[in-house]
Every structure is written in structure tokens, then in C-alpha cells.
């Protein structure tokens, strides 16, 4: 790791000010991605602004179906929140399946979303839940937020403060783990609203990162059952190929995981 300056922020304003004061600075949340990247010398921020000690960034509030998760809330806190489990158990299950206990106790939803790793789990949930990413300056719909591999709509020094969404009637996440990293080799989040609207989003598989699958959404809107996906085709040409899984195999996984998610929801 290259030498870096550490700053501990106590409020959102404080953090944004510190971050803006240095050109090559970065926010630090759980550090599960950023510190590892710095140790490999693939990132070299001059300054780190630690967000973990800002009280307003942590915690989960649930009001009926309306959910707000602070950006610095850890995966463990999401996985184990009884309030959240009552409103939207699928996102608790998803958080419980991220990494290992060490990672879940350090890593945060804000860090994961800001990083937008194409194999990360949360982006699938936020897209399917039609969530809003609340930043220090604005609110961004998930559909506008995830813009590509490791790319988001965040501006320089813009900070995620929270994630909000309206809990759906039914939802579930089915994840097929990469045998090595155990990130999602394909993860599918399905959500169904009382009005019959269905969203299906896929992570770990898309060549451009997380995406929705209109074909499956239409099929499931018409008939919410795993069987209704049988006739839907998933086009491998939009999917990733790597040493672990070809696009064709991922296309199969997208369907199988979607089926399993619907069955579990």
C-alpha cells in the first residue's frame, strides 16, 4: 500500500468537505474492496475519508413498507435486522449470502453500491426493488444509477447517504456462487408488487453489469410461477464469458436462478 492520509468524518458535511479538499481522495466505508485494492497497489488515494463514524449513515428504518438503509450499514446488520426481515426478507437473505462473516461485519451497502462490482449482490436487489439511492445532493433511481462495470452515476465527491425502497409483496434472491470467489457468478432478484408488476434483475452475468430482463418480467407478470419462465429465452450475447463460466452457461444459470427465486419468493 502507498502512504495515504486518514481522516475520520463525524458528519456528512464534514466528510464531503474533507473529500473535496484533496484531489485524489476517496471515501472509506468497510474497506473490504478499497483496502484490498490499495494493498495490491491498484488504487493509490492520497487521502481516505472514513465514513464509519457518522451516526446518521448507519441503521435501518422501516415504516410500513417504506424502507431506508443508511449507507454505512453493514451487511451483517442488514442480514440480522428483524424489522427488515418482516418487511423484505429477501434483502436480508441476500446480505447473509455476501462473502464470509468477516466481510459481512465490515462491508457496507453504500460501499457495495458505490463500487458496483458486476458480480456484487446488492445491485440486483436495488434494481429489482426500484430503489432510490439517496446522496448528499440528490436522489437517483437504481435504474439510472448503475451505468456499467464498476461505473455509477455518482459525481466526484458525491456521497451515498442511504438507500430507500418500497418493500414489494413478494421477493427473493437466488445466487449461484463463483466456485473460487463466491461472488455471484449469476444472481437473480425477483420482486412482485401487489399490482402485479414484476421486476427481474440479474447480477454476475451481464457484460455491462447488472440488468433487468424484460422477457422474464413479462412472463412473470402474466403468470407468477416458475413454469412460466420455461419459454423465455436468455440471449447469451449480452452476457460475460470468463474462465469460470461461458456466456451460454450463464444464460442457463439466469433462467435456473430466476425459476428458483420465484419458487422461493
Amino acid at each position: 500500500m502507498y502512504a495515504t492520509n486518514y481522516h475520520r468524518a463525524s458528519s456528512v458535511q464534514d466528510a464531503v468537505r474533507m473529500r473535496s479538499a484533496a484531489d485524489e481522495s476517496k471515501y472509506l466505508a468497510g474497506g473490504m474492496t478499497l483496502i484490498a485494492t490499495m494493498k495490491q497497489r491498484l488504487a493509490a488515494p492520497s487521502d481516505l475519508v472514513d465514513l464509519r463514524h457518522i451516526p446518521s449513515l448507519r441503521g435501518i428504518s422501516v415504516d410500513g413498507t417504506s424502507v431506508r438503509i443508511g449507507a454505512a450499514t453493514t451487511h451483517y446488520d442488514v442480514a440480522s435486522s428483524t424489522e427488515l426481515k418482516a418487511a423484505c426478507p429477501a434483502i436480508c437473505d441476500l446480505a447473509h449470502g455476501i462473502g464470509d462473516p468477516h466481510v459481512r461485519h465490515m462491508g457496507t451497502i453504500g460501499g457495495s453500491v458505490a463500487n458496483n462490482d458486476p458480480a456484487a449482490d446488492y445491485p440486483a436487489a436495488l434494481l429489482a426493488l426500484d430503489a432510490v439511492i439517496v446522496t448528499n445532493t440528490r436522489e437517483i433511481k437504481a435504474g439510472d444509477f448503475f451505468t456499467g462495470l464498476f461505473e455509477t452515476a455518482l459525481q466526484d465527491a458525491e456521497m451515498i447517504v442511504a438507500v430507500t425502497f418500497d418493500a414489494p409483496a413478494k421477493a427473493a434472491y437466488a445466487k449461484f456462487r463463483n466456485p473460487a470467489s463466491r461472488y455471484a457468478m449469476t444472481g437473480v432478484f425477483v420482486a412482485r408488487r401487489d399490482n402485479g408488476d414484476v421486476r427481474v434483475s440479474v447480477t454476475g452475468a451481464g457484460a455491462d453489469g447488472v440488468f433487468r430482463h424484460p422477457g422474464m418480467e413479462a412472463a412473470l407478470s402474466a403468470n407468477w410461477s416458475p413454469d412460466s419462465l420455461a419459454g423465455v429465452s436468455v440471449d447469451p450475447s449480452d452476457l460475460m464469458s470468463d474462465i469460470h463460466a461461458s456466456a451460454e452457461y450463464r444464460a442457463n444459470l439466469v433462467k435456473v436462478m430466476a425459476k428458483r427465486a420465484v419458487a422461493a419468493a
Binding site: 502507498y2 449461484f176 470467489s181 442457463n252 435456473v256
Partner: protein, 782 residues
């Protein structure tokens, strides 16, 4: 056996320090003035070094020195060598290309060391290393052995035309061909044994200390065999003469073979310590370990197995191409030859066998012994072929094996090995009973009802341990003898130190070796210290690999104990005025049989050192040494059965049952043996299901250079194992031990692959059987 004697499951003495974080590993070593090294490594798989510009780097903060290959050469530090000479079938010696500890004109794999930076801190060394500007002329690279042999491929070493190191054979080609020509049935297969990275928990590290006052070097290092390291560094690398070089391998956190070899870093840090005047420590990080630790396996083979009309094997013909990487590592030539082809008879009476082995240079890190070393490759090839033959012949896999088992001993195979003892049928039966083989059809039907494809597979392995009779390996090309030494030092108060040339890097020697003494003299193992891993403390030894510590290392201890016992009895007889032959040792006392005369052990020891009243002419003291040279290999064998369920939608394999029935000969500590088998099976399952080293075939970059891409087995990938033993004592060593360190890794991959291919009904599947490959194979037959 006594609570701490031979056969007792004594808890491991060393675990207290390991489990409380108090183990002392090389990286824990710290000496005054010590500085840190970082290696500049090649980012290219194949390139000419045009120039190295250190000017900017030398001025960086904290930098003490930067050294390159030309300086190393000017100081006459030698090439790294392969210590086992193999001759091609045309009689020519193997073609060993030069391996410079620091490359000085050509780099041949990603990670090849080019320069060393020594600085006040690791961070500063790394910063400066980044500022060293190496100008490379990038050359085309080849990473696959089969391809490297083809015409027009990049050439690695001028000595080795077409990258061929040797073209070797064993056995009788004409006899094997005749058997195949006359066979009622021939089973043919192409077999790939995938390339693995060793991944010991402790990465390699070394601390080189040059003492200018004494003109003496000390090398702390992560080694499985510190004496061999000293020998090689003195005799071949010209680092220092043996009497000026002390090598210490303190606690070592796993080796699996990868810490047998002497690597560039050890040599360079010692040399750099002299050049810079400071002790130099280097510790590898995990990606550096993937890049630079010797890998294992990587064989491509074709096999033909001939059967007569009664399904008896009449002949076997094997053609293997083995990837040895960019340079020949210490034992690399022995692994695909004498540790492989000599095991191709398996547990079977096969009248004619012929193996042809070509070894090849490629632009990858060197390949050498990895847990099992050659025997897993032989076992995988044979047992996949046996299973396939059974399917083709329409007979049960157990019947086909039974029909062909070797049943009388000693049995001389056509490929050098002489099996001394075994009962293959016993292990087969025990495994089938434990696995409820006969109930499989019902389980398969039940699984099918859940939409799952269930399969079962077995493997009957044999391997060779107790490496090895010195004269025999010498005649086969080994540069060293493979005996072991021991010294038993009884202190004046009766506590004991045992010096052994074996080295423990996880095996539990501090416990099991002490059990021998507890068994012999009836003293608690807490009164026994096992000393190993330091060339200043132990005179000479050959180290630990090839499951040799029990069969060879312990046998040396037994010989030394015999001498100590004889002398102690003489002293006791003299003191108790009895006949030497009437003295017995029981519960820590020397007694005159049939009388109530006794002397506690410590009094006899004290008498030896006070020397006030010793038998006439006897030297004072109680300390004896011995060297033990085995007269044969040992032959652990067994039967493994694996049962799986494949999810046809995703291709995921779940291991629902794993049975291991082993013959390890006599067992010193059953708990430790179980641990060895568990670890071995975990590695075997890792190879069959998960692990694979992947180099980009275009540019030679290592894609699987971290755990993000290299799939190590985790606890939840593994089932509980059902173990049992059917032991036939080994006749060739005094304890009847065969060895158990590698069996798990040898026997398990074919059992698992036989089970998966049985489940999916497609035999065309290579390791690792990833979900994607299994899914594709399933689709290919549906």
C-alpha cells in the same frame, strides 16, 4: 501400547503453540539490523532483458541496495539445478537449460526474478522496485506442453530443441504392443491431469544473515529439508561452503512438496546480505506464491489397456507429456518418471507395461512434486481407465478389479516396483460395506425422484512411500541418497532429546516421534523433545516428503534407540549385579526379570554421566546415533468410494458420501493419521472439483493468481469422511510403517470423477469437474 506409546491417539504436543498463535515461523524471525527485500519480477512470460535502469530507484528513500543478475553471475553464484538425471531412450542426458537465480538476459515466466531491492522497510523496497526500469524485448510465449512440442513454437532454452527435455521410457514396448494386438478388448482414453498450485497456508519466506566477523551465513527458510538446502547451496550454487552455512527451517506452515526445492530467493537473500552488509528478509505474498511456488501435475496422457476374453488385463501402454515449466526444479525430472511410471501396475497383475514420457519446457513457473508426486497421476490414469473398461465390458467395477488384483507377495511388477505386502481385497470389501454399495440403486432411484442424478465411483490406489533405498535411487539417477539419520541424546536426568533429519511442517513429528520413546522407555512424552530443522543441531538428514518420515525417519530413531537401550541395559545390569540379558524396561524402570530389583530410568542415565561406576571399559554418556537406509519402498494401498449427486440444471456436484479404506501398515498415532487422510482427501477433492491453474495461452499471464479465481476447497465443499484401516505391516522396516501423508490426495480424484461420470452418463469429463463442465457434459448426452 501405553497411553502415550505406539498406537495411542496422543493429542499433538505442538498444537498448543500453533493454536495460540505462538508458532515461530520464518517471517517471525527478527535480528538486529534486519532489512527487507522485494523482488523485481518479470511481467512477461517470455522476453529478452535489454537493459535494467536502477538510477532512479537507488535514490529512493530507505534504499540500501539493488542487485541484479549480472552481479550475481560475476560473484560466481551458480545455476539452480535439477538433482535427478534422466536419460532419454536414445541414451542422451536430459536437456537442462540454465536457471539463473536472477535472470540476466532472458525471462521465461511471469514472476521470473530479475533484481532484488533491499530497503529499510518493505514498503520502501516495494516503492523502489517499481522505480526499477527494465526494458524488455517481449517474445512469443507457449504455456501448454503439447503445443510447445509442435514445430514453430517459441523456444525456451537453446539446449532443448522443440522444448523437449527428455523422451524416456520404461517397460517393454514390444510386449505391450503384442498384448494390445492380441486383446479381446482394448480400452483407450485420453487423460488430463490438471495443473495445481500448492497453496500452503504459510507463504515462502527467507532471512539471509551474513556475519562478516566469522565469514559465516545463516539462512532461515521455509524448507521441508534444510540439510538438502545447505548441501545444494554449498555444492552447486557456491553460496558458501557447508561449514560456513547454517540453514534453519523453524516452524513451517505446510509444504505439500512446494518447500522441498531451493528457490532463487533463498540464494539471493544470502548473497544480498553479504553484498549490502545487512540481514535481508523476504516474505512472499499470496499472488507471488501463485506466480513462483513450484506447481504440481500438468500431464497429458493417452492410455491403452488390453484385456483377454476373461477380462484379465494383459497389457498397458501409456504415453505421457509432462509440463515442467520454464526451468527444471530440483526433483522435477523424477516426478513424471520414477515416481509415476513405476506405479502404473496399480494393484493389478499386468504382464506387460510400457510407458513413454516426454517432458517439456513452457513459459510457466516450474512444476515439481506436489502431494503425491507422480502417484496421483498414475492412479488417476489407471483408475479412470479401469472404471471405463468396466463400463465398456459391462461388468461391475469391483469385479473387474477383483479379477485383476495382485494376491501373492512379494510381487514383482514389470515397472521396477516390488510390492512387499498388501491385501487389496480387504480394503475393497471394507469400503463397499461402509459405502453400502449394494444399496446404491435404491438411493439413485430416490434421488431421481428429486430430480437429481446420483452416481457412485471407486478407485483402488497403490503408491510408493518410504522414499527411498539410496543405492536404488542412485542407480536411477538421483543425485542424493534417501536414507535418514537420528540421534538420541539421553540427558543426565533421563529426559531425552531426539535429533532427526526429518522435518515437520504440519505432520506432528514432535508428538509421534516422542511416542516411540515413550513406548520404548515408558517415560512421558513431555520428557522428550524432538529437535529438527536446524543444520547446527542435527548433523545431516534428507527431510520430509514422499511420506518418508515414518517409514525412514522413525526407523532411524528405532535404530538409535536400540543402541541406547543396549547401553542402558549394560549399565543397569552392572549396577544391579545381574546379567544383561535379564534386564527388562517397564514403566520407566529397568528391572531384573523375576526379581524385585529395579532402577528408575533417570538413575541409569545419571550413572552414565557421573561415570563413577560403569562396566569396565565403557565410555561415559548415553547418546547414540544411527543412519537408516531403507531396503525397499513401502506400498500403502486402499480403496476409496465416492457418491455424488449432480444437479442437472446447474451442473453442481455435491459429494454425499466419501469412504476411504486404507492400508498404511502399522500406525503410531491413529488421530494424526486420520488428520493426514482428511487433508489428503480434501486436496484430492480440490483437484477433481475445484482447483485449476490457468495461464492465458496467448500471453502466458497467470489468470488464477489469487483466490478470486483459484478455487481452493472450503469446509462446506467437503462431506464427512468414513475412514477405516486394513493394515498389513510393512515387512521392510522395523516399525512396519508404510506412510499415510499422500494417500488421500492420490486415491480420491479418480473415485470422484468416476462417480460424476457415472451420475451424468458421460465419461468425457476433465478435472476440475466445474459446474459448467458437468452441465455441458450432461447436455452433450441428453
Amino acid at each position: 501400547m501405553g497411553v502415550e506409546g505406539i498406537g495411542a491417539s496422543v493429542a499433538r504436543k505442538e498444537d498448543k503453540r500453533f493454536l495460540t498463535g505462538k508458532g515461530r515461523y520464518t517471517d517471525d524471525m527478527s535480528v538486529p539490523g534486519m532489512k527487507y527485500a522485494f523482488f523485481v519480477r518479470s511481467p512477461h512470460a517470455h522476453a529478452k532483458i535489454k537493459s535494467i535502469d536502477m538510477a532512479a530507484a537507488k535514490d529512493m528513500p530507505g534504499v540500501i541496495g539493488i542487485l541484479e543478475g549480472k552481479q550475481l553471475q560475476a560473484d560466481a553464484i551458480g545455476n539452480i539445478i535439477c538433482g535427478w538425471m534422466i536419460h532419454s531412450k536414445d541414451g542422451s542426458p536430459m536437456k537442462m537449460g540454465a536457471w539463473r537465480p536472477l535472470a540476466n538476459d532472458t525471462v521465461r515466466y511471469v514472476g521470473d526474478a530479475v533484481a532484488i531491492v533491499v530497503a529499510d522497510s518493505l514498503g520502501e523496497a516495494r516503492d523502489a522496485a517499481e522505480a526499477v526500469v527494465v526494458d524488455y524485448d517481449v517474445l512469443p510465449a507457449v504455456t501448454q506442453a503439447v503445443k510447445a512440442l509442435e514445430a514453430g513454437q517459441p523456444q525456451l532454452h537453446p539446449e532443448a530443441a522443440n522444448n523437449l527435455i527428455f523422451d524416456w521410457q520404461l517397460g517393454d514396448a514390444a510386449a505391450a504392443d503384442k498384448a494390445i494386438a492380441e486383446a479381446a478388448h482394448v480400452t483407450e482414453m485420453k487423460i488430463h491431469n490438471n495443473r495445481l498450485a500448492p497453496n500452503p497456508m504459510e507463504p515462502r519466506a527467507t532471512l539471509g544473515i551474513y556475519d562478516s566477523a566469522e565469514d559465516h551465513y545463516t539462512c532461515y527458510t521455509t524448507s521441508q529439508n534444510p540439510h538438502v538446502a545447505r548441501l545444494v547451496m554449498s555444492a552447486f550454487y557456491n553460496v558458501a561452503p557447508e561449514n560456513k552455512l547454517r540453514v534453519i527451517a523453524p516452524d513451517v506452515g505446510g509444504g505439500f512438496g512446494s518447500k522441498i526445492y531451493i528457490y532463487p530467493e533463498e540464494i539471493v537473500c544470502l548473497w544480498a546480505s553479504k553484498k549490502t552488509g545487512v540481514p535481508v528478509k523476504w516474505t512472499c505474498d499470496r499472488t507471488e506464491a501463485f506466480l513462483t511456488d513450484a506447481h504440481g501435475r500438468d500431464h497429458f496422457s493417452t492410455v491403452k489397456m488390453a484385456f483377454d476374453k476373461d477380462n484379465r488385463i494383459t497389457g498397458l501402454k501409456v504415453d505421457t507429456i509432462a509440463n515442467l515449466g520454464a526451468y527444471m526444479s530440483l526433483f522435477s525430472s523424477a516426478v513424471p518418471t520414477y515416481l509415476y511410471a513405476t506405479l502404473l501396475s496399480g494393484q493389478y497383475a499386468i504382464p506387460a507395461i510400457h510407458a513413454n514420457v516426454r517432458t517439456v519446457y513452457t513459459n510457466t513457473v516450474p512444476v515439481d512434486a506436489y502431494r503425491g508426486a507422480g502417484r496421483p497421476e498414475a492412479t488417476y490414469l489407471l483408475e479412470r481407465t479401469m472404471e471405463t473398461a468396466a463400463r465398456e465390458l459391462g461388468v461391475s467395477p469391483a469385479e473387474l478389479r477383483r479379477k485383476n488384483f495382485v494376491r501373492t507377495f512379494p510381487y514383482q511388477t514389470p515397472v521396477i516396483m516390488n510390492y512387499d505386502a498388501g491385501d487389496y481385497e480387504a480394503s475393497l470389501e471394507a469400503a463397499m460395506a461402509a459405502a453400502d454399495w449394494n444399496g446404491f440403486a435404491a438411493r439413485k432411484a430416490e434421488a431421481a425422484g428429486r430430480g437429481m442424478k446420483r452416481g457412485i465411483g471407486m478407485s483402488c490406489y497403490i503408491e510408493a512411500c518410504g522414499i527411498a533405498p539410496s543405492a536404488a535411487v542412485g542407480s536411477l539417477g538421483a543425485g542424493v541418497g534417501l536414507w535418514e539419520s537420528a540421534e538420541v541424546r539421553v540427558n543426565a536426568v533421563g529426559t531425552i532429546e531426539v535429533m532427526t533429519g526429518s522435518h515437520s511442517h504440519g505432520q506432528g513429528h514432535e508428538t509421534t516421534f516422542a511416542q516411540l520413546i515413550a513406548d520404548r522407555f515408558g517415560i512421558p512424552i513431555d520428557n522428550v523433545n524432538i529437535v529438527h530443522g536446524d543444520t547446527d543441531k542435527v548433523q545431516m538428514g534428507m527431510g520430509t516428503y514422499g511420506s518418508r518420515s515414518g517409514a525412514v525417519g522413525m526407523s532411524a530413531v528405532v535404530k538409535a534407540l536400540d543402541k541406547v537401550e543396549a547401553k542402558a541395559k549394560k549399565i543397569a545390569a552392572h549396577l544391579m549385579e545381574a546379567d544383561e540379558s535379564d534386564i527388562v524396561i517397564e514403566n520407566g524402570e529397568l528391572k531384573v526379570a523375576g526379581t524385585d530389583k529395579t532402577l528408575p530410568w533417570f538413575q541409569v542415565a545419571l550413572a552414565a554421566y557421573t561415570a563413577h561406576n560403569l562396566p569396565p571399559g565403557m565410555e561415559p554418556g548415553l547418546k547414540e546415533g544411527a543412519f537408516y537406509d531403507p531396503s525397499n519402498f513401502t506400498f500403502p494401498a486402499g480403496c476409496y468410494i465416492c457418491e455424488v449427486e449432480v444437479d442437472p440444471e446447474t451442473g453442481t456436484t455435491e459429494i454425499v458420501q466419501f469412504v476411504a479404506a486404507d492400508d498404511f501398515g502399522n500406525i503410531i498415532n491413529p488421530m494424526i493419521v486420520e488428520g493426514q487422510v482428511h487433508g489428503g482427501i480434501a486436496q484430492g477433492i480440490g483437484q477433481a472439483l475445484l482447483e485449476n491453474v490457468h495461464y492465458d495461452p496467448q500471453n502466458g499471464q497467470l489468470i488464477t493468481a489469487s483466490y478470486m479465481d483459484y478455487a481452493m476447497p472450503r469446509a462446506d465443499d467437503l462431506p464427512s469422511f468414513k475412514l477405516s484401516h486394513q493394515n498389513t505391516p510393512c515387512p521392510s522396516n522395523p516399525l512396519g510403517i508404510k506412510g499415510c501423508g499422500e494417500a488421500g490426495a492420490i486415491g480420491s480424484p479418480p473415485a470422484l470423477m468416476n462417480a460424476i461420470t457415472d451420475a451424468i452418463g458421460n465419461n468425457n469429463l476433465t478435472m476440475p469437474a466445474t459446474p459448467q463442465k458437468v452441465w455441458s457434459a450432461l447436455n452433450a448426452v441428453n
